[in-house]
């Protein structure tokens, strides 16, 4: 392999050397009827149908994308070369000079303006008529634009609706309830409200578990994380992506603290402090869902989110 490489380098050097040594080529007249260029174009043109046939053959046999692309692209490349060489070498390259048209017509401008103004000259309330006509046109356009409003239902309603209620069970993607005992410290999973639309922004949760002594929740949320299990909305409050990354310290003294990270713009939320933002462009905290454990040991919601879910809009409450 190395020997081959050395040979290649040697050959390359030789080629470069030869090219340098060669005296400057006398300039060939570009327009040359007959001769080598015609033959070259002819060869290229003859190869085009061959490549096309190859394309058809590939299509009817294994139809692999690579061969199809190579054959079809090759056919076009041959044709491009033929046309290019013909355009540069086979036909006249004569330089032509064309005068530019004059664009402006000052006298005609005046005439046209006069003709445009003439009809209105006898009228007494020209201004008023024009204003009224303008108003009428604007009103017509406005009326025509109104049906476009049917495109959407009014805002409100859906943006703020949430399927989470006290006592609603958390289920996994297959709809099975989630036993609190199966979640270990450092775990991370996605959960949904039982029986609700999973795709709704207000539905998906990230459930994580950290050590209870790590919790730094505000006082009124002190009972929202049974056994250190926390639930947050999975939709980033910055730009609506799923907060799909969970950073959990592997080596406590050096690693950063447990956090949820959105992979779109890397907004990072402090898990222990109730979804507080610590890095990235998001401004609002990740909404937290209070959790409880029901009689069967499964996770249930103990209320609704601490704030509005998903990306912000004008007038949304900050927390």
């Amino acid at each position: 392999m190395r020997a081959l490489g050395r040979w290649l380098v040697a050959a390359l050097l030789l080629l470069i050397g030869r090219r340098r040594a060669r005296p400057a080529r006398p300039e060939r007249p570009r327009y040359e009827a007959g001769g080598r260029d015609e033959l070259l174009v002819l060869t290229l043109l003859a190869a085009v149908p061959a490549a096309c046939v190859a394309f058809v053959v590939v299509y009817f046999t294994d139809a692999s994308t690579q061969w199809l692309g190579l054959a079809l692209g090759g056919a076009f490349a041959l044709a491009a070369a033929a046309a290019g060489i013909a355009g540069k070498r086979l036909v006249s390259q004569k330089r032509h000079v064309e005068p530019r048209p004059e664009l402006e017509h000052p006298e005609e401008q005046e005439e046209v303006l006069r003709e445009l103004h003439e009809p209105g000259e006898g009228l007494t309330r020209r201004r008023l008529l024009l204003t009224a006509a303008g108003g009428a046109v604007a009103a017509l356009l406005g009326a025509l634009a109104i049906p476009a409003l049917s495109l959407g239902p009014g805002a409100g309603g859906r943006l703020t609706r949430s399927p989470w209620r006290r006592g609603r069970r958390l289920v996994d993607e297959q709809g099975r309830p989630i036993a609190a005992a199966t979640i270990e410290v450092g775990n991370f999973l996605t959960a949904f409200p039982e029986g609700a639309d999973k795709e709704d922004f207000a539905s998906p949760l990230v459930v994580v578990r950290i050590r209870p002594d790590e919790l730094r929740l505000p006082a009124h949320r002190s009972n929202w994380a049974p056994d250190g299990i926390l639930a947050f909305s999975k939709i980033c409050t910055h730009a609506g992506c799923a907060v799909a990354l969970f950073r959990y310290p592997l080596y406590r003294p050096r690693s950063p603290k447990p956090a949820l990270v959105c992979p779109c713009h890397y907004s990072t939320f402090d898990v222990a402090r109730g979804g507080h933002r610590i890095f990235g462009p998001a401004d609002r905290a990740l909404p937290q869902l209070p959790l409880a454990i029901d009689g069967e040991g499964n996770l249930v919601a103990a209320g609704d989110f601490s704030g509005r879910v998903g990306p912000s809009w004008w007038g949304v409450r900050k927390s």
Binding site: G69, L72, A77, R100, L245, C264, P281, G310, K318
Partner: protein, 460 residues
């Protein structure tokens, strides 16, 4: 019956007798194109658009724009049995079951990426050479509008298959729309027909926008763009025999027609070679979208990178009043930033006119070095956007080069402000250097023997 000459003669006389079109045809064949490679960039964009329409029509015959659910039963084993939307399922069908489907789909996607590359390079050419001055300010505005529409069109296109990346892109788009002051929530509901992620009414709107409304708008603007060029004729770089009142170059027939055809064929060739050999947007690896799913290291198509960068670099600033959010954060990076960029692009011809007081007609282009202040300003402006664009890939940089993401954000924030200043100064300097090197008197002239036997002197 004669040969092709006879056929063409017949066609010409047929249409001349009915439409009187021969003078127009003659004028067209005589149309002069100045020769410069940078004039091809717009043409490449045009040909990409042609390929996009062609491949796009093919894809509409197989794609099903619906969020209705179905169970995937195709030949890609890892997803078999998964519940997917018909949009996702039909894109999988195109990729795996339809013969040549993946080739056309990937060619379509590659063409979209190249389309925007060509548009942006063309735009740079226009800005660096002052081609936007009177009388072309009007066509510059048409072009900038096409860039905006092309960005929207690309975004709509890659949002259609309902894979994980397209869903994440839509969620961000929805959030940006929602963040518009006062009317954001209403706008979001208007476009999505309710709350995100929306249902069939939303995907059918997205689809009709992608396959009908936006392409027609772009096609219309392309027509206007070209009609204006034909009316005003091309600009040209200064040079021997070139004045403000003529065009010097090659006629459409035959040389230019052949070269341009060659360029069209070359664009198609590149797109099909890429479509066949280089994988793009393998949605089976991303999987179907759910609001509750996201992946790390997601990157949009390249031309949206600057918006991701804008969203990522923006400090956590929101405007609050009495505990209520008024302007949410995505507004700044996702809405205000592109608005500023596009306003500057639209307004630049007028701004420059104000600065220089030059409202004369310009048919000769500036060489970038000759108008150093403009070249430097334009370079600084594009550096600003480019730094933010690179910041959109900061997560990839942190994976590949082990540079912590948080440090990069600060680096790019500072670079976005500092790099344009630096580039401005360096560009002015480089322009001055180039100019001084150029102002040396030419050494001698070339003497060439003419076919008639005489000698002619060619000034350099």
């Amino acid at each position: 019956m004669g040969g092709p000459e006879e056929l063409i003669r017949g066609a010409v006389s047929y249409f001349d007798a009915r439409l009187g079109g021969v003078p127009v045809l003659r004028k067209t064949l005589h149309y002069v194109f100045p020769d410069h490679w940078s004039f091809m960039l717009g043409e490449i964009a045009l040909y990409c658009f042609v390929v996009l329409v062609g491949t796009g029509i093919y894809l509409t015959l197989f794609f099903d724009a619906s969020y209705a659910h179905e169970v995937y039963r195709g030949s890609y084993a890892p997803l078999r049995g998964t519940e997917v939307t018909k949009a996702f399922g039909s894109t999988m069908q195109i990729s795996y079951e339809t013969k040549a489907g993946l080739l056309i789909r990937q060619a379509h996607h590659w063409a979209a990426n190249l389309f925007l590359v060509a548009i942006v390079l063309h735009l740079l050419r226009i800005f660096f050479t002052g081609a936007f001055r009177r009388p072309r300010d009007v066509n510059a505005a048409v072009g900038v509008t096409m860039l905006a529409l092309a960005l929207l069109e690309g975004y709509a296109g890659y949002s259609l298959p309902d894979d994980l990346l397209s869903g994440m892109g839509l969620a961000i788009g929805y959030s940006v729309l929602l963040s518009v002051p006062v009317i954001g929530a209403w706008l979001g509901a208007l476009v999505w027909g309710g709350a995100f992620p929306g249902g069939d009414e939303f995907v059918s709107r997205l689809y009709i926008a992608h396959v009908l409304l936006l392409p027609i708008a772009i096609a219309l603007l392309v027509t206007i763009h070209l009609a204006i060029i034909v009316r005003q004729k091309h600009t040209q770089f200064p040079g021997r025999g070139k004045t403000e009142r003529n065009v010097v170059g090659t006629r459409l027939w035959p040389a230019y027609a052949l070269r341009s055809t060659s360029l069209l064929l070359a664009v198609v060739a590149v797109v099909f070679l890429l479509g066949g050999l280089v994988q793009i947007n393998p949605i089976w690896l991303w999987g179907p979208y759910h609001t509750y799913a996201a992946t790390n290291g997601a990157q949009p198509d390249w031309y949206l990178g600057w918006l991701i960068g804008g969203l990522r670099l923006m400090p956590p600033l929101e405007i609050h009043v009495f505990g209520y959010t008024l302007v949410p954060n995505p507004f700044f990076g996702g809405m205000l930033f592109p608005l500023v960029v596009f306003t500057l692009l639209y307004a630049w011809p007028a701004i420059e006119r104000r600065i220089t007081g030059d409202d004369a007609r310009h048919e000769l282009l500036d060489r970038p070095r000759d108008v150093a202040w403009r070249t430097a300003l334009v370079a600084a402006f594009f550096t600003w956007v480019a730094v933010i664009f690179v910041a959109g890939s900061a997560d990839q940089i942190s994976v590949h080069f082990q540079i912590p993401y948080g440090q990069q954000v600060w680096f790019f924030r500072i670079a976005a402000l500092a790099a344009p200043v630096l580039v401005y100064l360096v560009t002015r300097r480089v322009c001055a250097e180039l100019r001084s090197r150029n102002s040396r008197p030419p050494r001698g002239a070339v003497v060439r023997r003419t076919p008639a036997g005489g000698f002619e002197r060619i000034e350099r």
